[in-house]
């Protein structure tokens, strides 16, 4: 029954905040699994025990205020608890004011039908200057360093999704949305588009390459020299 263990199906996590997301997922998984099994057990027991039998009648029971109060209170506490537990996680990932500083790379990602354009500002740190570097569908970042991304779109809404980073954010035409991540493992990961964007939506795919420190330095100097 391993396949019933949802958390086992999550792809490997390679971001610093991903574990937090996974932990919430696992917590909810266990809460819901227990609730589900309990409800089903009660249901099955009732179905068997209280099936129609000759000579036994149903009992006239209209309800129970105590029970109503108990289960209303219990579910309220559980769902509110879950909401409170997830606040810090959400703030950490999505609130620009809480993003960690000192990024090791800053990149603009631009979704357009049906590619991701990645623009590096170059050594001067500014977009729109001569030393910008634009790559199609290739995002290169250093491992264990904060990366800041400025996400936008040219035409329709796209969604930047890297499953292994546990990061997803829609890209809106006409807006710049900031996001961040810190990858913890070198490698190449896919960046599918997760928002329907037209007939080429399926297969709109970029690649995130997470370099070791030396590799990344080499990659940088290859492009801009010293």
């Amino acid at each position: 029954m391993k396949w019933l263990n949802f958390p086992a199906w999550l792809p490997e996590n390679v971001s610093t905040f991903g574990q937090g997301v996974d932990n919430l997922f696992i917590l909810i998984y266990w809460i819901t699994a227990i609730v589900f099994l309990a409800v089903m057990a009660v249901l099955v027991v009732f179905i068997i025990k209280y099936r129609f039998q000759e000579g036994r009648n149903a009992e006239y029971i209209e309800g129970s205020t105590t029970l109503e109060i108990v289960w209303t209170a219990a579910t309220t506490v559980i769902v509110f608890g879950l909401a409170m537990l997830s606040l810090p996680q959400w703030n950490k990932i999505k609130f620009p004011s809480q993003f960690p500083g000192n990024p090791g790379a800053v990149v603009q990602v631009n979704g357009k039908q049906f590619n991701w354009d990645m623009t590096y500002p170059g050594p001067d740190g500014e977009w729109g200057t001569d030393d910008d570097l634009q790559l199609e569908n290739q995002l290169h970042v250093p491992v264990n360093e904060v990366v800041h991304i400025r996400l936008t779109a040219d035409d329709v809404i796209h969604s930047f999704f890297v499953p292994q980073l546990r990061l997803k954010q829609d890209a809106l035409p006409g807006r710049f949305i900031n996001m961040w991540f810190e990858a913890t493992k070198p490698g190449t990961y896919e960046i599918p588009c997760a928002e329907l964007c037209g007939f080429g939506h399926s297969g709109m795919l970029g690649y995130l390459t997470v370099h070791t420190e030396e590799d990344y330095a080499a990659w940088i100097s290859e492009r801009w020299g010293e």
Binding site: F6, I61, L172, G200
Partner: protein, 620 residues
């Protein structure tokens, strides 16, 4: 109070065929029209799903039967349609419809988008709403509250025929140049609002127009329901003696009335953007793509509750009848539905956590969404309570009601995952959402509809459906349903995006651990074909039983509610004399009573709800 002119219809003149079967003013006939219409559209919507399920399991292979092309037979290979260019879709004069949409027999990616868009649009707007609200709403409201017809019979007829018109417009979209709308049932702008960004032209326009027409139909229906329920209840039918199905339909009518104008205006704005050069949803023209999402979800979240509340109501009718017990916590059931109705207006942002909306807003929407899980839980526990110390009859409607409860539990619990904003970062726009939708709408509403059809069929057509066939249909549907939708949770957890035509394009899906996504997709598709095939059993059962079913007595299930007090088949005008209601609808197994049911029309001294109301007293 309302038995004026109708009495004269009771016994004499035959109506003309057209008046009786086509432009009927009788709520029962209109309900049946909606029923047949909804069932046919159900097969259409299901057929579309099977087409795209084929593509998901065996991407870029020609679809069997309709898709086996000459090229494929000769060369055994096909060029993937994704290579084709924009403009080709427009020079339609060279190609047949099939070649445009399925070149070499393979579903074109643009056609794939139209397929899932229309599948969802049809299922939501032309199947579940017409069946729950149109068919059962029309048939049950006057009968269950004890009156002769709807308040506005002509409006009622117009509601059905405008719904029909909407459906015709929607289906026409398949045959216009540029193909049908392909921006999803959610129609996100600017993909839906700029012709050049999708290549879809009149398809999307017709989608908007059809939904507006269909919404007008819902408006007419809801005004009618609200008026009828408020004004025309039989004497003694106080608010807290109303059957829960009527409560549900009443609340749904209010939701429809308030939600529809919002989406109608939003759809009109899309039409302006497309046809009049405005830019409400276009950033370059000073508009905002997120505006559409706010307007759409402000409507569509209440809409999804419109899709479930009547199902909840119907299950709450059937469970007590076959448990031979009062519903557990009647008032808490009513208040839970009212709570859901209020909360459903302030949770729409949970569809937009990752949309670029201010993340602080996400927090408030997360909290309200978590709250809406509470009334859903209350209802579930009350259904369980109803089974406690019951005497359960496993009839076909009861099997469906039990399936409804257990499937709704799964759908509600998966809702908790997505309501959690950080977790939703990962599962948003994946198959996890698709699983959730189908557990609540198919596992919930559609099973309630199946059960409801079986349960009320004797009153509708004066004949029983075949129970054996009904059980076979139930078990195949139930097992195949879970085979289709349960594994979608797993795909979602593996990161499988929704709305992609070819999962094989993604390395991480092919590498999914412990099982690759592809065999799972194949398994799902096989189950989907079984599920689809099983629905023919339902159709056969319905149509065969209309003419040949076992003749039904007046109250075959020994139920309490007023529709069973009406003669079978129900005459025009429903009741001989308007019944007097003495107590609530769920007085089963009352201690000391001579039988284990006590119709609402029979006084019941024992029960706390049984205080007799003076004859002739009005509803309030």
């Amino acid at each position: 109070m309302n038995d004026h002119a109708h009495d004269s219809h009771d016994h004499h003149h035959e109506e003309s065929f057209v008046r009786k079967y086509i432009f009927s003013l009788d709520h029962k006939m209109i309900g049946k029209q909606f029923l047949i219409f909804g069932l046919i559209m159900f097969m259409v919507g299901g057929g579309l799903a099977l087409l795209f399920r084929w593509q998901l399991a065996w991407p870029d292979r020609p679809v069997p039967i309709i898709g086996v092309s000459q090229t494929y037979l000769e060369e055994g290979e096909v060029a993937t349609a994704a290579d084709r260019k924009w403009e080709e879709r427009f020079d339609d004069d060279k190609e047949t419809w099939l070649e445009t949409n399925m070149p070499s027999g393979v579903i074109d990616p643009a056609f794939y988008n139209s397929l899932f868009t229309m599948h969802a649009t049809i299922m939501v707007f032309f199947v579940v709403v017409p069946l729950l609200v149109g068919a059962f709403g029309n048939f049950l409201i006057p009968l269950m509250i004890g009156t002769r017809d709807m308040a506005f019979p002509v409006l009622n007829m117009l509601s059905f025929w405008s719904n029909m018109l909407g459906a015709v417009i929607m289906m026409a979209g398949f045959f216009v140049p540029g193909g049908h709308a392909g921006a999803g049932w959610t129609g996100y702008a600017p993909l839906s609002s700029v012709v050049d960004l999708s290549g879809v032209n009149w398809g999307q326009n017709l989608w908007c127009i059809s939904l507006i027409v269909m919404g007008i139909s819902s408006l007419m229906g809801s005004i009618n329901y609200i008026t009828t329920i408020i004004n025309m209840r039989a004497p003694g039918m106080t608010w807290f003696r109303l059957p829960l199905a009527i409560w549900a339909l009443f609340i749904v009518a209010i939701l429809l009335l308030l939600a529809f104008p919002v989406v109608a205006s939003a759809l009109a704005l899309i039409l302006f953007d497309r046809m009049a050069g405005t830019s409400f949803f276009l950033a370059t023209g000073g508009g905002d793509p997120l505006l559409w999402q706010h307007l759409f979800w402000f409507f569509a979240h209440p809409e999804v509750y419109i899709l479930i509340l009547p199902g909840m109501g119907m299950a709450s009718e059937m469970l007590p009848v076959f448990a031979r017990k009062p519903i557990f916590g009647y008032k808490s059931m009513v208040f839970a539905m009212i709570a859901i109705a209020f909360l459903s207006w302030i949770v729409w942002g949970h569809h937009m956590f990752q949309s670029g909306m201010n993340p602080a807003l996400g927090l408030s929407f997360m909290t309200t969404t978590m709250l809406i899980a509470v009334p859903s839980a209350i209802k579930t526990f009350n259904w369980l309570g109803t089974l406690h110390r019951a005497s359960i009859r496993f009839t076909v409607p009861m099997l469906h009601s039990l399936a409804f409860v257990s499937m709704f539990v799964i759908g509600g619990l998966s809702g908790i995952f997505m309501a959690n904003a950080p977790v939703d970062i990962y599962i948003h726009d994946t198959y996890f959402i698709v699983a959730h939708i189908h557990y609540v709408v198919f596992g919930g509403s559609v099973f309630a509809i199946f059960g409801g059809i079986f349960y009320w069929f004797p009153k509708m057509y004066g004949r029983h459906m075949n129970a054996t066939l009904g059980k076979v249909h139930f078990w195949i549907s139930f097992l195949a349903f879970n085979g289709v939708f349960f594994p979608m949770h797993i795909l979602g957890v593996g990161g499988h995006m929704r709305r992609i035509a070819n999962p094989m394009q993604y390395e991480f899906l092919q590498q999914m651990q412990p099982i690759s996504a592809q065999p799972i997709n194949v398994f799902i598709t096989i189950c989907a074909f079984i599920l689809g095939a099983a629905q023919f059993l339902l159709l056969i059962n319905v149509f065969w039983s209309i003419f040949r079913g076992k003749v039904a007595e007046q109250n075959p299930w020994q139920a309490n509610t007023l529709e069973w007090h009406a003669p079978t088949p129900v005459p025009h005008g429903n009741f001989g004399a308007i019944p007097q209601v003495h107590h609530g609808p769920y007085e089963y197994s009352v201690p000391g009573a001579d039988k284990d049911w006590t119709p609402q029309t029979e006084p019941n001294g024992e029960s706390p709800h049984g205080e007799p109301v003076p004859a002739g007293a009005t509803a309030d």
